[in-house]
């Protein structure tokens, strides 16, 4: 049985990873068709000549950085507060927001923005995307930090307070450093989720605030193209670097 399992495992990992590998290989193909001609970087050059792609990437980076910063701060504070004393209502709504189908989150945020804009001269834009991303990211941060907090002994904080620290000082000088790796892991997770989100973003983004996944999606709807292969390879490498960083953090 052991040998059959090993054979199966090879097939399983091939199924999981071959599609992206072949995609990346063909991003270096000079032909626009799926028959190998010779090595070329043309499709990568094409990315940098496309102003729409550059702008969308830029938008995605801004949205991911800003919403990661906000949701990591809010989520860390929230996880710490819940660790002190739980709140069924808040925990329940965080979990509920996690299991809500993305498309439902998307349309309900769209409905909210449209409704609140009726009386104001505001429009959908990058900031509505950030608001939405923070909304779905907080629960990820709370879950990651809470898991980390379960390994922290409450006596650590009590010791700090016995030694004369007030509540705030105990949090800032003792708990926060102890949570450091968890906070970074949460931030990296949220960064990738935010950078990748298409469904919610496409509902709440304005006409002038397209993100990279929206452009990739629009191109993919028109059919596969070597340029998307090249972008996909770059995005995969970018995410790969993030994993390496998060692994270093976890080991530290």
């Amino acid at each position: 049985m052991k040998r059959w399992l090993a054979v199966y495992a090879v097939a399983f990992f091939a199924f999981l990873h071959l599609p992206l590998l072949t995609l990346s290989v063909f991003s270096f193909n000079s032909s626009r068709f799926t028959t190998w001609e010779h090595f070329s970087l043309d499709w990568y050059r094409a990315i940098f000549r496309d102003p729409q792609l550059i702008e969308a990437t830029w938008n995605s980076v801004i949205v991911a950085l800003v919403s990661t910063a906000i949701s990591t701060v809010i989520g860390t504070l929230c996880a710490y507060g819940l660790w002190k004393r739980g709140s069924k209502l808040l925990t329940g709504s965080l979990y509920l927001s996690l299991v809500t189908p993305e498309i439902v989150t998307g349309v309900s945020l769209l409905a909210l923005f449209q409704w609140s804009f009726r009386s104001m001269h505001w429009h959908l834009g990058l900031y509505t995307v950030v608001l939405a991303h923070v909304a779905f990211s907080i629960s990820y941060v709370v879950i990651v930090i809470s898991a980390r907090l379960r390994t922290v002994s409450p006596s650590l904080e009590e010791a700090a307070m016995d030694l004369g620290a007030n509540e705030w000082e105990a949090f800032f000088y003792v708990m926060l450093p102890a949570l450091g790796p968890g906070i970074i892991a949460a931030a990296l997770l949220v960064l990738t989720v935010s950078f990748d989100d298409f469904v919610i973003t496409s509902m709440v983004a304005g006409v002038d605030s397209e993100t990279l996944p929206m452009v990739i999606y629009a191109m993919a709807r028109r059919g596969a193209s070597p340029v998307i292969n090249a972008i996909s390879a770059l995005v995969t490498v970018f995410f790969g670097i993030l994993i390496l960083i998060s692994q270093q953090v976890r080991e530290a």
Binding site: L5, A6, Y8, A9, F12, F15, L16, H17, P19, L20, T22, L23, F26, F33, T34, T35, V73, I74, L77, C78, G81, K84, R85, S87, S93, L96, S97, V99, T100, P101, E102, I103, V104, G106, V107, S108, L109, L110, A111, Q114, A135, I138, E167, W168, F171, T192, D196, M203, P213, I216, Y217, A220, A224, I228, S232, V235, T236, F239, L242, I243
Partner: protein
């Protein structure tokens, strides 16, 4: 304890303003009438919910349910041996786990697009089969239910492997030895000892796969090419092209209710069984 109040305040505000409020608005919209130029109007009505009983929409709901169910079952069948392999591995266990986790860190959109690239008429699979002379005209691999199912299974497979692996890892190996000592063959041990004992992982994995599949929008849209309409596409369409917000809201509410009931029911049953 004053600190806790201030620490929880931002997340409370955010959850009320950007989770509870949108939910309340969609709930209200689902009882309103479609406006002449899109949007919603009074009077209050339950017409949107009555339309859900239309056979056209019941079919879409049933199809979405069956698609999510099929994806969950296939994920279970493919994931279980892989989880078993990793839990039994004596070397490189961490490497195998990382290989399963890797897709979590890669773009879901890019991974879905990869299948578009492989399955299309001029994609790698069709081109290879044609150059080998096995087929003469491209097979229609894309834009059908099978492609959507494949995309869903591929997308959510890791969600099934990890919880099953976690329960297998915690399992007492002496139970398996005991089964063997008592004369059970490996297959009997697998189905009568290992699988029943990994139930919590199987349930957790099934919930994690079934829920996103039920509300899937991106996969049916890209790989189904608009031909495979699932409930997620129905919601999106009502809010954009069809401009029927009350009906889109009613479908959203139904989807939310199903997901909540499912999670609540399963978690309750599991926690009762665990003790």
């Amino acid at each position: 304890m004053k600190l806790r109040f201030w620490f929880l305040l931002p997340s409370r505000i955010w959850m009320v303003a950007l989770f509870a409020a949108p939910f309340a608005i969609v709930l209200a919209y689902s009882f309103l009438t479609r406006g002449t130029y899109g949007g919603v109007e009074k009077p209050w009505t339950i017409e949107a919910y009555q339309r859900l009983a239309d056979p056209l929409y019941l079919t879409i709901l049933l199809r979405s349910f069956l698609m999510a169910l099929a994806a969950t079952v296939l994920c279970l069948v493919f994931a279980f041996p892989a989880a078993l392999f990793i839990s039994r591995a004596t070397r490189h266990k961490n490497l195998y786990l990382q290989l399963v986790m890797l897709p979590f860190w890669t773009s879901f959109l890019v991974r879905t697009y990869a299948w578009l690239f492989l399955l299309r008429d001029t994609g790698l699979i069709n081109m290879t089969l044609q150059s080998l002379g096995i087929i003469h005209a491209p097979l229609q691999l894309l834009y059908n239910d099978g492609a959507v199912l494949l995309g869903l299974v591929y997308g959510y497979l890791p969600f099934m492997v990890l919880p099953i692996y976690a329960t297998l890892e915690r399992m007492d190996p002496s139970l398996i030895e005991a089964a063997a000592d008592l004369g059970a063959r490996p297959i009997a041990t697998l189905f009568r000892v290992i699988v029943p004992l990994s139930r919590p992982g199987i349930v957790a994995g099934s919930v994690l796969v079934f829920i996103p599949c039920l509300g899937a929008y991106l996969t049916p849209d890209l790989l189904g090419g608009g031909r495979t309409v699932l409930v997620g596409n129905l919601v999106q369409n009502q809010f954009t092209n069809a401009r029927d917000w009350p009906f889109g809201s009613a479908v959203s509410m139904l989807l939310m209710a199903l997901v909540t009931l499912l999670v609540w029911g399963l978690l309750r049953r599991e926690s009762e069984q665990l003790g």
